[in-house]
Amino acid sequence: MNSALPAAVAKGPDLSKARIKRRYAAEARFRFYGLGAITFAVIFLVILLGTIVSNGYSAFVATTIALDVHLDKAAIDPDGTKNLDTISQADFRGVVRTSIRTLFPEGTGRSQERELFGIFSEGAQYDVQKRVLNNPEIIGTTQRFWVKAAPDIDMLRKGYLVAADDGTARINLTQQGFYQQLEKNGRVRTEFNTTFFTAADSREPEQAGVLGAMVGTFMTLGVCLIIVLPIGVAAAIYLEEFAPKNRWTDLIEVNINNLAAVPSIVFGLLGLAVLLNWFGMPRSAPIAGGVVLALLVLPTIIIAGRSALKAVPPSIREAALGVGASHLQTVAHHVLPLAMPGILTGTIIGMAHALGESAPLLMIGMVAFVVDVPTSLTDASTVLPVQIFLWADAPERAFVERTSAAIMVLLVFLVLMNLVAILLRKKFERRW
């Protein structure tokens, strides 16, 4: 021990009030900045979600108009055979139009009649046809149908459109007049828009739905998961646990990290060149989309898997090796189960990434306008983000709300997947 203390030591710590106050002030400032940053982020999230919800919530309801349709036997089934082929050939358009005319028995002029027909959805005749085909017994009776209103009437009722006669509006005053009279008669109501969840895409907004895109998304993600989970986990285990550490494995590691950062459209080009042109996979099909997304997500899952394996304490490996477990037994019985929550979380986050991906799928043709719900992996289909992209591009006002509604559906899926990730992690998490 030196006898003479250094000057700074002799002075001792500066415990003056001012200095301590400054230290507390710095801490308070820091907390304030942090709080500010979070508030900022929350405000933007609220604005974003608020915009989407306020734009989109109205797509979940639809305007319908009561129509008493006289299912004229002479028009639908003149021979009375109730043959389904004959019925499906019948002129339901005419049947519906006749019924529409009866709504205004005082009579309308020829030009006004066109306006009148225009307030009903083009799909009304198919609703009628479907019900008759399901139950031919009702031919000859008068049935009440709640048929969809035309999208512009729907928009008018929701307050998005204003009628005018000067050619600037999509609805003229004549149509508005018909609508108001129907409403006064209690023939107009707003009901839950089931079509949105039971139909695929359509040119007519009131007949368009997200089911096709949802099924396409499930199929694509299913293919992606089946490919990516075994390959990703096996690659992660091999690289982390078994591969020798040399220049080649370093090179592979660098390349995997690089692949994770490659723009997704490049994977789309790869899919187009290799999967479609070389392997001859069908265009726009979930199988091709799934493979492309698998390539996209694979590096993420390998990286997440490796870090989860790395996080398993070495003492567990030593314990297993110490009782004579082989290398593979050590990994399979002890390391992998402990790394599983991390691997699953990484996988689900990767899948959530794939769920929101649209660019690579555009390249392999999943941007096509598909009106049927896909039934197999090779059917043409689309996915939710691409559906959103397509609708965002459509000019009709009714597609604006459907775009936001589809975004809401996509967000619900994202939240659900993240929830599953959290639950799985909670369930499999082991503490030591």
Partner: protein, 269 residues
């Protein structure tokens, strides 16, 4: 200790001339270019506790890990020389390190039970080595191992609870029971009490003395009192060399090498 109410049958008469269980010849270890251990020549007799002492980084743990070829798992680690167990070189081509580790068990510095039930911790070794052919046989093995480790009375009512829920000392005895369960010939212990409180340490030390009847035990320790209490022979390592080896009382009372004396009296370390 009263709760150890099981007698371990000795493998053979321990009073007769003791057999050499292990003999190390010119053992050296390299981590890459660094030579961590040089030319160790040493014999280990059966049914004895041999302690390896020395300052940190002297190579005693490295040497211990040579005996069950645990160093094989470290990339870049190379072992030269030979270690004969019952006359067979464990570094010979015909020896499988996985099989060897079933014959040479190991207990680590920090208690490291598997994050599984107490039962599964013990049963894991017997299961992977196909020792028990039925559930009841396995139950017997588990009870025997836990009794041998003096843990049975404390845990018999909660065998299906996680082993990680036990206290530190109980966890370490669980790890000893896990090593015993595959009935090895040699048990290596790498500072088994360094993470334990004095009472738990005393229990483990008593257990080590009991286990000597059945197994040959090699223990690395930083506590010279512990070496003096539990071991019959002691080896002193310094800077990668085996400095001196002999009966424990001789090492502690009449060390031949001045470095041993200096370490024991606390002048180097």
């Amino acid at each position: 200790m009263a709760e150890i109410n099981v007698t371990l049958p000795p493998r053979e008469s321990s009073l007769a001339a003791r057999k050499i269980k292990l003999s190390a010849r010119d053992v050296g270890v390299f981590y890459g270019p660094a030579n961590a251990l040089r030319e160790v020549n040493m014999d280990f007799e059966e049914h004895q506790v041999i302690s390896l002492i020395g300052p940190s980084g002297c190579g005693k743990s490295t040497f211990l890990r040579c005996i069950n070829r645990m160093n094989d798992t470290i990339p870049g680690c190379r072992v030269v020389g030979s270690i004969n167990m019952d006359g067979t070189n464990i570094y010979g081509a015909e020896i499988d390190p996985v099989e060897l580790r079933a014959r040479v068990g190991m207990v680590f510095q920090k208690p490291n039970p598997f994050p599984k039930s107490i039962y599964d911790n013990i049963a894991y070794g017997p299961r992977i080595h196909g020792m028990a052919s039925s559930k009841s046989e396995l139950d017997e093995v588990v009870e025997w191992a836990l009794r041998s480790a003096g843990l049975w009375e404390e845990v018999k009512d909660r065998l299906l609870q996680p082993g990680t829920g036990l206290s530190g000392g109980q966890q370490q005895r669980l790890c000893i029971a896990r090593a015993i369960a595959v009935h090895p010939e040699v048990i290596l212990m790498d500072e088994p009490c360094s993470a334990l409180d004095p009472i738990a340490t005393a229990k483990v030390e008593e257990l080590i003395d009991e286990l000597r009847q059945t197994f040959t035990i090699i223990i690395v320790t930083h506590s010279m009192q512990q070496a003096a209490r539990v071991s019959q022979r002691t080896a002193f390592f310094h800077m990668g060399n085996l400095v001196e080896e002999g009966p424990t009382d001789m090492i502690f009372t009449k060390p031949k090498d001045p470095r041993t004396g200096a370490y024991i009296t606390g002048r180097i370390g």
